[in-house]
């Protein structure tokens, strides 16, 4: 098979239309999970098929694409997906957040603030925030429709009763535009505040579960909590060993088989930018 056998961005035009309709609906009702006819993609479920379908539907020849996985541009998945779109759409790609028009991400929001005109596409495994407490789809759909979200607070209550605090550290539920409760995908709760009043459009695609949802730009997004246990965006209290950042989300990296480890920014682009500007001159990893 040569490249000419693929339609632009792999999906046929009718499929892209169908997905765009779903996206429009999702934007019209922020946080509401819109069912869509998820297609067979050349990657298995669990590898970002939802995100890829959303990206494929919105890409145009002039777009500049960035793909990250856990904040990094150079992990296997990020590289694969980026190559996929180069092959099927021929778009320009970048690792610089500020230069991208479309950013597909798995489990992180970039540290660099987004600007108007950008679209952030999230890969979502389980879109339903109530799923683990209420396994019946019929029941969760009703709960969303009738705004019955007591159960969501039950989950947080359980955390506090077991751990003394709300222990949910990622996929922390949020309320969008004062109406729908949404799962922000397994991004760390540290990233939750970035979703609020964001100038960029945020789209969420779940391929296996066949749902798309969206947060339009400048929409209110509030993390659920209790009055006496307010939401805290948690971050490991450390410094990036490479660039010295004290306010970015950190990954723990094991450096040898003797238990040595170091903490580095999860967002590789952010870290590289800071180093380019002269931060973190010490090249030696911290012990």
């Amino acid at each position: 098979m040569n490249e000419a056998a693929y339609n632009f961005a792999y999906l046929d035009e009718q499929t892209k239309r169908m997905i765009r309709r779903a996206i429009l609906k999702a934007i019209a009702v922020p946080g509401y999970q819109v069912p869509f006819a998820s297609r067979e993609m050349p990657m298995p479920y669990g590898w970002g098929t939802g995100g890829v379908q959303v990206t494929a539907s919105i890409l145009g020849p002039d777009d500049i694409l960035k793909v990250i996985d856990q904040g990094s541009d150079d992990t296997t998945n990020a590289v694969s997906i980026r190559k996929f779109f180069v092959k099927t759409a021929g778009v320009r790609t970048t690792t610089t957040t500020a230069d991208a028009t479309v950013i597909q991400t798995r489990h992180r929001i970039p540290e660099t603030a987004l600007h108007e005109g950008q679209i952030l596409v999230f890969q979502v495994p389980i879109p339903e925030p109530l799923r683990f407490l209420e396994p019946r789809e019929t029941e969760t759909r009703r709960m969303h429709a009738l705004q019955e979200y007591g159960l969501m607070h039950v989950k947080l209550y359980e955390d506090i009763s077991r751990h003394g605090e709300i222990a949910t550290s990622y996929a922390y539920p949020v309320k969008v535009d004062g109406r729908y409760v949404m799962d922000p995908s397994p991004t760390p709760k540290f990233d939750n505040p970035k979703m609020n009043d964001c100038p960029a459009l945020q789209l969420f695609g779940a391929g296996r579960e066949k749902r798309i949802y969206a947060i339009p730009p400048y929409t209110q997004v509030v993390s659920l909590d209790f009055e006496d246990h307010p939401f805290v965006p948690y971050r490991f209290n450390g410094t990036c060993a490479l660039c010295g950042a004290t306010d970015s989300y950190l990954d723990e990296v094991i450096t040898d088989d003797r238990g040595s480890r170091m903490f580095v920014c999860s967002d590789t682009d952010h870290c590289a930018m800071r180093r380019a500007r002269g931060h973190g001159l010490d090249p030696e990893p911290a012990r």
Binding site: L133, E148, Y149, G150, V154, Y157, S161, R162, F226, E227
Partner: protein, 261 residues
């Protein structure tokens, strides 16, 4: 104490339910007043559970209506309410105690969260206060408060049933439906549970409709009774009157079938 003013809380009018050609129940009418406990007794297949489900809006009647007096005093036809309104009623003004407690509980969620869920559903957002209310109710239904963080999967049957009761009463409902609340429990556990129910119903001035096949339970808990057979109400009235002085042949049969203690 029964509120003997003339304002029924629940009114059934000619309630009838057919499942295709199978009769569920036929032509049941009564008024229930605040603080009144009514037992619906009958053997399996008598239609008592169908009646309970009709009264609690879980089934739609084939004919007849159920009217409920809302907190603002207006009598509303349950069939005219939207689903949101019915579900809200179910979570706040009503309770429903299932025979099998697991059906009325979230079995894998802690006891405290089970009790607190309805509060959270109506907007309580203070963890300390929610937990405090749950603890209060644990005391009232006599579950040791050190079990509050354990899930009911670890509770005994009697404890689960008491938890289910607490979960239903936490929002101060005015009407509680009970489907064989002591069915399946050990006899010694039943006695304590019945007394708990009696106490709470009296203290909270609850109206209740209790479906049971056990006449002793009816006698202990209810003021009034409806005896059902094959979908129809065979006899009804004051509980002690119907059980001591049964008029209908079927009622006499039922009463005489109780094994003496």
């Amino acid at each position: 104490m029964i509120d003997t003013e003339d304002h029924p809380l629940l009114r059934a009018q000619a309630l009838t339910k057919w499942y295709g050609r199978q009769l569920g129940c036929r032509d049941i009418s009564f008024d229930l007043y605040p603080g009144e406990v009514m037992a619906v007794v009958g053997e399996s297949g008598s239609g008592k559970t169908t009646l309970l489900q009709l009264l609690s809006a879980q089934l739609a009647p084939t004919a007849g209506r159920v009217l409920y007096r809302m907190r603002d005093g207006i009598m509303r036809d349950l069939a005219s309410m939207g689903e949101a309104e019915r579900r809200f009623l179910f979570r706040t003004d009503w309770g429903y105690v299932h025979q099998e407690p697991a059906l009325g509980l979230r079995i894998a969620v802690s006891g405290g969260a089970n009790v607190g869920e309805r509060l959270m559903a109506v907007g309580w957002r203070h963890y300390g206060r929610i937990r405090g209310a749950a603890k209060d109710w644990f005391d009232r239904v006599e579950i040791a408060s050190d079990r509050i963080d354990d899930p009911p999967a670890t509770y005994s049957g009697g404890m689960r049933q008491r938890l289910q009761i607490a979960r239903n009463l936490v929002t101060n409902p005015r009407l509680v439906f009970m489907d064989e609340p002591t069915g399946g429990l050990d006899v010694s556990v039943q006695a304590r549970l019945l007394d708990l129910i009696r106490g709470l119903v009296g203290e909270l001035r609850l109206a209740a409709i209790i479906v049971t096949h056990d006449l002793a339970v009816a006698r202990m808990l209810s003021h009034r009774i409806i005896v059902m057979k094959d979908g129809a109400a065979v006899e009804s009235g004051l509980t002690d009157q119907v059980l001591e002085d049964p008029r209908e042949p079927y009622t006499q049969l039922l009463v005489s079938s109780i094994l003496p203690a």
